[in-house]
Symmetry: C2
C-alpha cells in the first residue's frame, strides 16, 4: 500500500516520476548505462541540464526576459550566503517571517548592514507583516514566500525599485505570480520540484556585478551563469528527477493547473479545521499557506487517539514542527486530494469517537 | 548489453548497488515510500547518514582517533573554498600537480598568502614533484592525491608537522594508506564512493578554531560537525547510494581488496601500453595512477580505426581530457578486470590491423 505522504520536505513527488526515476538507475535512455554512472559532460546529461533550465524558465513565464536558471548545490542555506556575497555592498532589507528568514538574516549580517523591515516574531511567526517600508539605500529586499514551519504565505509582494530577492523553496511552481517582479528567486528542490540535493536559482543577470568584494568561484552567480550551471559536476540525479517533475507539471497544465488543485486541497482541509471544534488553526486566516496547513488540537488529551486514527489510515508525516507543535499537513503539488480527504475523515472520526 | 564504462567521473558503480538503488526509489526499506520522498529527519534516513559516516571512518581505519566524517554538498570545488575559510589565517602551502590543485590554489588566495611549494606545470603535469619544503609558518599543507586528468598519483606523502590536507576525490577507498597522517581529507563522491551530489569530508577536529575570521554557517566545518552532517537538508539519495557503495567495499574485503584488484587492472593495461608500439603512456612511469591511465597513439592517423574498435567492443568513456588528448582509461573500484581486457584486446586488434 502506498502511504498518504504529508512530509514537509523532502516530500511526495508524482508516482510517474518515481517510476521513470527508478528505471533510469538501471538503464538511462536505452544507453546501457545507469544515469548514476554517465559523465555529466555526456550529450545525454547536457541535454537534461539544458531542458531543466529552459523548462523552469518556461513554467515561470520568464523566457527571453533577461533571466538565467541554474541548478546548484547546497540548498537554500547556501543561497542565504550567496545572495549576500553577490548583492550586499552596504545595506540590505529583510522581512522576517520565520525560521528561514531568520537564518537568511544571520548569514547576510556577515557581509554588511541588515535592516529587518518587519518581523512577526512577536506572535511566533503566525502571520505575515503587511506594513513596512524598504530603505531607499538598500541594495536589495529579501523575503520568504512561504513559511513551511509556521504555515504562512505571502499573498502580495511589495512593490519596490530595489532588487526583489525571494526564497520560494516551499511554494515555487505551486501558484501563479508575476515572476518578472522578482530579480532573484531561489528554491531548494525538495518540495514541489524534485528530491533533495539541488537548488533552483533564477536570476536576472543585470543585478550582478555591483559589489566590490572578491567572490569565491563557487559562491559567484556569474561563475555558474558563465558555465551554464556546469562549472563543476552538478548533482546529476537530483537535476534529472527535477526535470521529470517539471515535465509532469507542464503535462498537467502548468502552474495554473497546480494552483487550482492546491487551492481545492487547502479549502478541503482548512474548512474542516474551522468546522471541527476539536481543532484550531495556527496561522492567521488571511495568511494561511495552501502548501503547509498548521493546526493544533483544542484539547491535547486527544492526541493519542487522533494519532492512532491517522496513522492507521496510512498517513505519514503529519506531526507538527517543534516550533509550533500539533500537526502540519504539507500538501505539495504531487499530493492527491484523496490523501487530504483521508486526513479530514480522521478528524471527523475523532469527533465521533470523543 | 551492459557497457564497459571507463568514464572519469561520474563513473561506474557496482551493479548490485544500481539494483538496490533503483528499488529504493520505488519502496525504501519496505516503508511504502520512495527514498526520494522521506523526511531527512525520519529515523530511516538518520540511520543511513549515521551508518555512512561510521562506515567511511571504519574503512579508513580512523575510528576513535579524533576524526569526524561529514557528507556535504558542492563537490571538491566547494572544499577548495571551505578549506581556506576554516584553516587559512596567514599562509598556506600548496603542491600544484594539475588542474584541481590549480583551482584549489586560486580559491585559497582569496583568504591569505599561498606558497606553491612545487609544480609540475613545466611538463604539463605529467609527473609528481618530489623534492620541496613546506614553510615553517604555513597554516597547513594541501595536495591532490590523484590527478584524474593527467593520470598521476602521489605515492608518498610528505612528513610534516603542519596539518596535512588532501583532495582524494579520485582515489579514496582505492588503496591502503596510513590515513591518520592526514588531518583533513575530502572527496567528491562520484568516483569510488557514489553518484555526483555529495562530498565526503573527514576531518580531525583539533585543527579547527584557529582562524579569527567569521565563517558563514554553511562554510564552517564546525557547524556541520555540531549537527552530525544534518545542519541543513543533506543530499539524501546521493548519501544513500554512497552508503550502498561503502557497504559493497566492506563486503568485498575493504580497501585492501580494492587495491589488489586495482593493481591487477592497472598492470594489465599499462603493460599493454608499454608493449604495444602503437601507444605511448603520458604520465611518468613512477607516478602512474592505477585509477586513470592516460595514453596517446604514437601515430594520430590511427585514431579513427582505434576509436571504431573500442566503441564496437562496447567501451564507453575512453576519450582523453582535452588537456592531454588521446585516451584515458578510468579504472575505479567497480570496474571489472574483464572490461580492461576488452580495451587491451582492442589495442592488440589495432596492431594486427595496421
Amino acid at each position: 500500500m502506498k502511504k498518504h505522504n504529508f512530509s514537509a520536505g523532502p516530500c511526495i513527488l508524482p508516482q510517474e516520476v518515481f517510476k521513470e526515476a527508478s528505471q533510469a538507475i538501471l538503464d538511462f535512455n536505452g544507453s546501457g548505462l545507469s544515469i548514476l554512472e554517465i559523465s555529466h559532460r555526456s550529450s545525454d546529461f547536457v541535454s537534461v541540464m539544458e531542458e531543466a533550465r529552459n523548462l523552469a524558465l518556461e513554467l515561470l513565464d520568464l523566457q527571453d526576459k533577461g533571466y538565467k536558471a541554474l541548478f546548484l548545490q547546497g540548498g537554500a542555506s547556501t543561497q542565504f550566503l550567496m545572495t549576500a556575497y553577490n548583492l550586499l555592498e552596504k545595506k540590505a532589507a529583510y522581512l522576517n517571517t520565520g525560521t528561514w528568514s531568520t537564518k537568511a538574516i544571520k548569514e547576510a549580517k556577515l557581509f554588511g548592514e541588515v535592516v529587518e523591515v518587519a518581523s512577526s516574531k512577536d506572535k511566533n511567526f503566525s502571520y505575515i507583516p503587511k506594513s513596512f517600508s524598504i530603505p531607499n539605500d538598500a541594495d536589495y529586499f529579501h523575503c520568504t514566500s512561504n513559511n513551511t514551519i509556521f504555515g504562512t504565505q505571502i499573498k502580495e509582494f511589495p512593490s519596490t525599485s530595489k532588487p526583489l530577492v525571494c526564497d520560494m523553496s516551499s511554494d515555487i511552481f505551486s501558484r501563479e505570480l508575476d515572476f518578472s517582479k522578482f530579480d532573484l528567486i531561489y528554491a531548494g528542490a525538495q518540495k514541489n520540484m524534485g528530491p533533495a540535493g539541488t537548488t533552483l536559482v533564477v536570476i536576472k543577470e543585470n543585478i550582478l556585478g555591483k559589489v566590490t568584494r572578491d567572490i569565491p568561484s563557487m559562491m559567484s552567480y556569474a561563475t555558474h551563469i558563465g558555465k551554464d550551471s556546469m562549472f563543476n559536476t552538478p548533482a546529476v540525479y537530483a537535476v534529472y528527477v527535477s526535470l521529470l517533475t517539471l515535465r509532469w507539471i507542464k503535462a498537467k497544465g502548468g502552474i495554473k493547473a497546480m494552483e487550482e488543485l492546491n487551492n481545492k486541497k487547502a479549502e478541503l482541509l482548512y474548512a474542516e479545521i474551522d468546522r471541527n471544534p476539536l481543532f484550531k488553526g495556527f496561522a492567521a486566516k488571511e495568511d494561511r499557506s495552501p502548501m503547509n496547513a498548521t493546526f493544533n488540537l483544542s484539547d491535547e488529551s486527544h492526541k493519542e487517539t487522533f494519532d492512532k486514527l491517522w496513522k492507521e489510515a496510512g498517513v505519514n508525516g503529519l506531526n507538527g514542527h517543534r516550533s509550533v507543535g500539533g500537526y502540519r499537513a504539507s500538501m505539495y503539488n504531487a499530493l492527491p486530494i484523496e490523501s487530504v480527504q483521508v486526513v479530514v475523515d480522521a478528524m471527523q472520526e475523532l469527533e465521533r469517537k470523543i
